[in-house]
Amino acid sequence: MSSRAEIFANIRHGLRRSEATDAQREAVQHRLQQHPRNLIPARGQQAPEAQVELFIRMAQEAAAEVVTLENIEQLPEAVADTLESKGQHELILASDETLTALGWAAVHERIRCHQRVGQVGDEASLTLALVGIAETGTLMLYSRPDSPTTLNFLPDTHLVVLQRKDIVGVYEDGWDRLRSLCSGRLPRTVNLITGPSRSADIEQKLQMGAHGPRQLVIYLIG
């Protein structure tokens, strides 16, 4: 008997049944198709303005920097300011049109922009978040041809653009957005990111910047 057959036979033996009943199959299919929400914490169910405030507070608590901008046209200037303050000059841009269409030429003397995957030694990257999740100040990003995953992890500084209208209360709202966006199949990877990389593996003392970005900057637009 194959390992697979043995494992399933063993589980069914333990459950004291051979095949599952129709009712059991229906219960499972119902759960998978309806994906009902479990208990939702009250903090994620506030009015939109309160959610934005909560998002900012929680993101900052997780050591992310939050920069608010009135419109996305202000982004190149703001990014140049951020990088300058960190002594960085190279930026790897996700090739999403929302970003590439902006007026980067105006800041070309302050930062050099490239569009490619992330590489070892990269100083900074700029990507887009699908949503921001207020309950813990978490960003949801996902992989696609114009947003390679390496940009979220290899550079020292990770810059993320988030529209104010895309702040939702809870993770479940994020899953719904993701499902409506990618019908049927999830993208290869979905990254929930809450603050910059860290580790407390040496004497339980928290140090920032383990293997992922040392700094996370969120540009909140609108």
């Binding site: 390992s3 069914r12 059991q24």
Partner: protein, 472 residues
């Protein structure tokens, strides 16, 4: 990992006298419980989430075969492969086979306790493949030829000086004493490895049946680099980690970080659903999920089924007075603390692990903090019953238990014995009211005095009280 669980008593004795270990364990006790309590206080719904998580796990276990079938079908639709492994040996061979197909020379690894359980690193080394641990704690341990002593803080038994030594020796660089500088050095060293690796191996905290996704929960980002950069990503996980939907995974995620490190949420919660899509610029070309059973399916339908609810948060060991006193290595195998004392006998046999479920004060703190409400003390008691049934309990203990059972079922004799024993102890205690040496109880009196019984026995007090009440 060599099994040393039968030596628990000696190991614990040594651990108690190990000054450095005791200092390191102080960091654990000063950190985790307080951080968890603070996080729980900020989430008023926490206890209700725990109830839902317990009930949901029970539902999953009742339909485990169905959810596993769904998970497998979705992984395949996503372009991945699922490998079923009944034993640790099956799992090792399967993983080696995948590595060989890729002509792999080096493998980077994210933190995974299941790969510890199947002793993967040693096996890969023996077969000419070099595994590189990338979690900072695991990396330190690999340099030292050491093993994790905790399921989420693997190097908790070490102090700064130990890390400093290990890096100095292996990196051939000047000795560093600042934790931030040490971490920066590890970051630099591992950058090259991430890029050079042919295969990346990670664990999984959950497997989502709805979408065929696996998820890892980390703070460092090493797991993400491990699974994004190499051509092949292998997820090594176990069958009880399947959950129905993204919403159901979310319920457990709300409990996991808060119970573990006391964080609101871990930094990186990453879903992987198959291999690189046609126009993607990065990501692995091959995606494999190795599902390990290794005794878990044998627990279904038994008195130990509830243990399969465990989400590996480590709250039980973080709050355990025994773990806090002797550390994880004393337990002698992969999983320490209360959850380990229930799992280890299942995986290596009660003959070898009998001392572990006995290493409990029955204080109940583990059950009190468990996010999925596993009755750990009850499960440890079940193992003690099995130990007794299989005649593994030492003769002196069996004789003692037998005598006590006889006395307890003969009330007259019991009262006579207990009142005379209490008188005798008072006599032995003399003026100071404490006994410093007691036959058959040297385990107690070697380390502290035994206080003498202060008043009358329960029965004597009861009778006196009845008399008093009858009078009034």
């Amino acid at each position: 990992m060599q099994i040393k669980s039968p030596e628990f008593k000696q190991s614990a004795r040594i651990a108690l006298q190990d000054v450095n270990l005791q200092k390191a364990l102080g960091n654990l006790k000063a950190g985790f419980p307080g951080k968890r309590a603070a996080a729980v206080a900020r989430m008023p719904e926490f206890d209700r989430l725990r109830d839902e998580a317990r009930d949901l796990k029970n539902h999953i276990l009742e339909h485990l075969d169905l959810y596993l079938e769904e998970f497998e079908a979705r992984v395949v639709e996503n372009g991945g492969q699922v490998h079923w492994c009944r034993t640790a040996d099956d799992a090792r061979q399967t993983i080696l086979q995948i590595c060989r197909e890729q002509n792999a020379k080096t493998v980077t690894k994210g933190k995974s306790m299941v790969t510890e359980e199947i002793n993967l690193n040693e096996y890969l080394e023996e077969n000419g493949i070099h595994p590189v641990e990338t979690d900072l704690g695991e990396y330190i341990l690999q340099l030292r030829g050491d093993h994790p002593s905790h399921i989420i803080a693997p190097a908790i038994h070490l102090n700064l000086e130990d890390v400093s030594e290990a890096f100095h020796e292996h990196h051939k660089r000047p000795k560093l004493t600042d934790p931030a500088a040490l971490m920066a050095e590890a970051r630099e060293m591992l950058r090259k490895q991430f890029v050079a690796a042919d295969v990346g191996i990670t664990g999984a905290n959950f497997l989502v049946a709805e979408t065929g996704s696996t998820i890892i929960v980390t703070n460092e980002g090493n797991g993400d680099l491990t699974q994004t950069l190499p051509k092949t990503h292998i997820v090594v996980s176990s069958i009880e980690k399947v959950v129905p939907t993204l919403e159901d995974m979310t319920l457990f995620l709300r409990l996991l970080a808060r119970s573990a490190t006391g964080q609101e949420f871990s930094v990186y919660n990453t879903l992987s659903s198959g291999n690189r899509r046609p126009d993607d610029q990065d990501g692995p070309e091959n995606f494999h999920v190795v599902l390990v059973d290794n005794g878990r399916s044998d627990m279904v339908g038994t008195e130990f089924q509830e243990m399969l609810r465990c989400i590996r948060c480590s709250a039980c060991m973080n709050h355990c007075p025994v773990y806090g006193a002797v550390g994880g290595h004393s337990y002698g195998w992969v999983y320490p603390g209360p959850m380990g004392s229930v799992l280890t006998p299942q995986m290596i046999g009660i003959e070898q692990a009998a001392l572990l479920p006995n290493a409990s004060t029955a204080c109940g703190k583990c059950e009190e903090v468990c996010p999925v409400r596993i009755p750990l003390p009850k499960l440890m008691r079940h193992w003690r019953e099995k130990e007794f049934e299989q005649h593994l309990t030492p003769r002196a203990v069996r004789w003692g238990l037998g005598s006590w059972a006889f006395l307890a079922t003969h009330p007259m004799l019991y009262r006579l014995f207990s009142s005379s024993a209490s008188r005798l102890m008072r006599l032995l205690g003399g003026q100071k009211g404490r006994i410093s040496k007691l036959p058959l109880a040297s385990g107690w009196t070697d380390h502290r005095d035994m206080p003498v019984p202060t008043g009358k026995t329960f029965m004597q007090q009861w009778q006196a009280r009845q008399k008093q009440e009858n009078k009034s």
